[in-house]
């Protein structure tokens, strides 16, 4: 009984990563059966998109592997510490830019930083700078071009600073904005 349960759990875990690709294959299969011409066109478009994005995606995967290997929430905490002022802004921006994975994985770090006395401005700036993803930059450029990508990065950083300033102004315990 126990072994069959373990086997069931194991097969579920094995199947999980294949659910999405299998779903896509099923949809295309259904499409080919119902509307072959349209589905063939869709496959051609997907193929051409894959051709355009293959190199940027490979670059992104390599960069993700490198960052995951060398950067963890613990490293960020050590690296950020209780830095303040201009240095704090630069370091929190860098930490936000380099942090990867879903935002909820980083909440314990933010909570820890706040408890350690790091200013709200730094935490909000960190979260804001997460919209700049260096690993996805090649993909962004492939989609929108260098000019748009540069404006996006610049506006993200300005927006993060603005948001952090408003948060510090509103949520700071002293009621005053202490930028860093």
């Amino acid at each position: 009984m126990t072994s069959s349960l373990v086997l069931l759990k194991g097969s579920k875990r094995l199947l999980k990563p294949w659910l999405f690709p299998l779903g896509v294959v099923c949809i295309y299969g259904l499409g080919l059966a119902l509307a072959p011409n349209e589905t063939y066109n869709a496959i051609q478009i997907s193929r051409s998109m894959l051709g355009q994005l293959a190199l940027p995606l490979c670059l992104a995967v390599v960069m993700m592997a490198v960052l995951n290997r060398y950067l963890s929430p613990a490293t960020i905490t050590r690296f950020l510490g209780q830095k303040t002022g201009f240095k704090g802004i630069v370091l929190s921006s860098l930490a936000g830019i380099l942090s990867m994975g879903p935002i909820y994985a980083w909440y314990p770090l933010f909570k820890g930083l706040k408890e350690k006395g790091v200013s709200i401005f730094i935490v909000a700036n960190f979260i804001g700078c997460r919209s700049v993803k260096p690993v996805l930059l090649p993909v962004l450029v492939a989609y929108f071009g260098w000019r748009f990508a540069s404006v996006f990065v610049l506006m993200s950083l300005i927006g993060a600073l603005g948001t952090a300033y408003i948060v510090a102004l509103t949520c700071s315990e002293k009621g005053s904005a202490k930028a860093g």
């Binding site: 935002i103 909820y104 909440y107 314990p108 933010f110 909570k111 706040k114 709200i120 935490v123 909000a124 979260i127 804001g128 997460r130 919209s131 993803k133 996805l136 993909v139 962004l140 989609y143 929108f144 071009g145 000019r147 748009f148 404006v151 996006f152 506006m155 993200s156 300005i158 927006g159 993060a160 603005g162 948001t163 408003i166 948060v167 509103t170 949520c171």
Partner: protein, 81 residues
Amino acid sequence: MGSILAGNPVNSYVIGDSLLTAGVGLAGVLALLLTWVNVALIQLPLEAAALGWRFAIVRNFSGIVMAVITSSLVFLWGVGI
């Protein structure tokens, strides 16, 4: 849209590209991309649990405001992108 939707940022690039093809302006697409990661209304309770309701609400709301302001600036500035 960017505030409500969640997921990998690459999804926002694909949606943004489709919106551009459909005739939406670059400033609108920029706002979508900016709010996709920065504003997470779905994850608001989680953020509030870690950093407090006040922080979560103010940060998300000001994230939307900043996205609108910066995108409008790009639109008014008329950057040749």
